[in-house]
């Protein structure tokens, strides 16, 4: 996206910096949106089912939370990279390439944000009174309808919180992304990577500070929006 050098919100950013801002937003939004259905499915599975190897599944899902992000990025590189087994397969059969593309950044941000999302949604599902679902089944609702009409709406505040946490995590993701898809302006250079790059060049401090300001604005906006959404969802649930 090319933008003239003008003051947006009185911020003096170069087109390249604006590109980083919009790219970051795009990556965070897409990563959150794409991982949300999986997050809800996995959270439901963990909250409601017991199965063989559940602890292992949990450990794998929560791993990015404790692993150094660079390690996660490297794992992505050696599985989804163009010459890596899965990456090569996707490239040859479907023409899907993640390495050094913004879509790869979506993957790394999604993976890093996933545990936070799953945790928030899982807690809200576990808090639901299952007797309400029993009541729904005596009224003729099969499992799918019970999930759609009872579980999902009652878990909505948690789903919003989970999406928000994931979005915030994706906004700030640095280590895994830069390791997996590098730091290419216009393709994979997010705000974090741009700030890092600016601090490495002489005279980049002012520009870095501007980007920091932009990220503060985005984060505040996201926080306020999620608070408002969560309040509205909770109010809707309880009919206030």
């Amino acid at each position: 996206m090319r933008l003239p050098r003008v003051d947006y919100f009185m911020l003096d950013l170069t087109p390249q910096e604006w590109t980083a801002v919009f790219l970051t937003l795009r990556i965070a939004v897409v990563a959150t949106a794409v991982s949300l259905p999986f997050g809800i499915a996995v959270a439901t599975l963990l909250a409601r089912r017991s199965f063989w190897g559940k602890s292992l599944v949990e450990a794998v899902i929560y791993l990015p939370l404790v692993l150094p992000p660079v390690a996660t990025g490297y794992l992505l590189l050696i599985t989804l990279g163009r010459r890596a087994p899965v990456g090569a397969f996707l490239d040859q059969h479907f023409g899907i390439v993640f390495s050094f593309r913004w879509t790869g950044a979506v993957i790394s941000c999604g993976v890093m944000a996933f545990p936070l999302m799953v945790r928030a949604i899982r807690l809200s599902i576990e808090a639901i009174d299952r007797k309400l679902e029993d009541a729904a089944s005596t009224l003729g609702a099969d499992q799918l309808w019970r999930f759609a009409t009872i579980t999902l709406p009652l878990a909505l505040p948690g789903i919003i919180a989970g999406a928000m946490l994931a979005f915030a995590r994706a906004l700030g993701e640095f280590g895994a992304t830069i390791t997996f898809v590098s730091n290419i302006p216009g393709e994979t250079q997010t705000i974090s990577a741009a700030i890092y790059t600016l601090t490495q060049v002489p005279g980049g401090d002012t520009a870095a500070l501007h980007l920091v300001l932009v990220s503060i604005l985005i984060s505040l906006g996201a926080l306020i929006a999620s608070e408002w959404l969560a309040r509205r969802a909770t109010a809707r649930l309880h009919g206030v």
Binding site: K131, L132, D134, A135, A136, S137, T138, L139, G140, A141, D142, W145, T149, I150, P153, L154, R236, L237, H238, G239, V240
Partner: protein
């Protein structure tokens, strides 16, 4: 000759406690009474399909809902048996009207204004329709729960201590509605309670349960020790 609408013959062990109950119910209201811990609620959950017995048979109108020998276990949502729970269990995120319509939606019935208005009038809940369950009193909540169960057009209505969570005044408020329900709705009922006076007003056939066993069945025609 009594035509048996429901026959229950179930066994289940819950750790220390074991339940082995056998009784039959005809049309109208049958009460299931006994001290708390006698297994009344467990039996209701088995008839509703929410708890699976270890062994036995549950037959409603000639259809086996559960038969361990024949490996039959019809899921709760296909049994068309509505339950009115002690705590109401209204859906907090839906208006009273949507709560009432829930069973109809799930069973794919077309809207029937006449039946809806009849039930609403029977239970006197017309002015509550737009409210959320959180804004209802205990008595109102139970009336809505009764309406929701009825509007699912069940073959059988299970009432699991529907008045137990209410104080005496609220009980007196709901009891007449339950009597009207029995006389007007023409749906057979199984009524669980540990309050003998309450039961006498509602049911003619009384099944007495103690420590997981049926110890007596009282019918209008007489009393027999099981």
């Amino acid at each position: 000759m009594v035509c048996e609408m429901l026959t229950v013959d179930v066994e289940k062990s819950f750790g220390e406690f074991s339940l082995a109950a056998r009784f039959a119910a005809e049309g109208g209201a049958t009460a299931l009474i006994g001290p708390s811990g006698a297994g009344k609620t467990s039996i209701i959950a088995m008839i509703a399909g929410l708890t699976r017995p270890d062994r036995g048979r549950i037959v409603l109108d000639g259809e086996a809902l559960f038969d361990s020998a024949a490996h039959i276990n019809v899921p709760a949502w296909r049994r068309r048996i509505s339950t009115i729970f002690q705590e109401g269990r209204l859906f907090p995120h839906m208006s009273v009207k949507h709560n009432l319509d829930y069973g109809r939606w799930m069973n794919g019935h077309a809207a029937d204004r006449k039946i809806f208005e009849h039930v609403v009038a029977l239970l006197d809940i017309g002015r509550l329709l737009e409210r959320r369950p959180g804004k209802l009193s205990g008595g109102e909540r139970q009336r809505v729960a009764i309406g929701r169960a009825l509007l699912a057009k069940p073959r059988l209505l299970l009432l699991d201590e529907p008045l137990a969570s209410l104080d005496a005044a609220r009980k007196a408020e709901i009891l007449p509605y339950l009597e009207r329900l029995r006389d007007e709705a023409r749906v057979p009922m199984i009524y669980v309670s540990h309050d003998a006076a309450e039961v006498k007003r509602i049911a003619r056939r009384i099944v007495l349960l103690e420590a997981g066993r049926v110890v007596a069945i009282t019918t209008p025609h007489g009393h027999c020790r099981a």
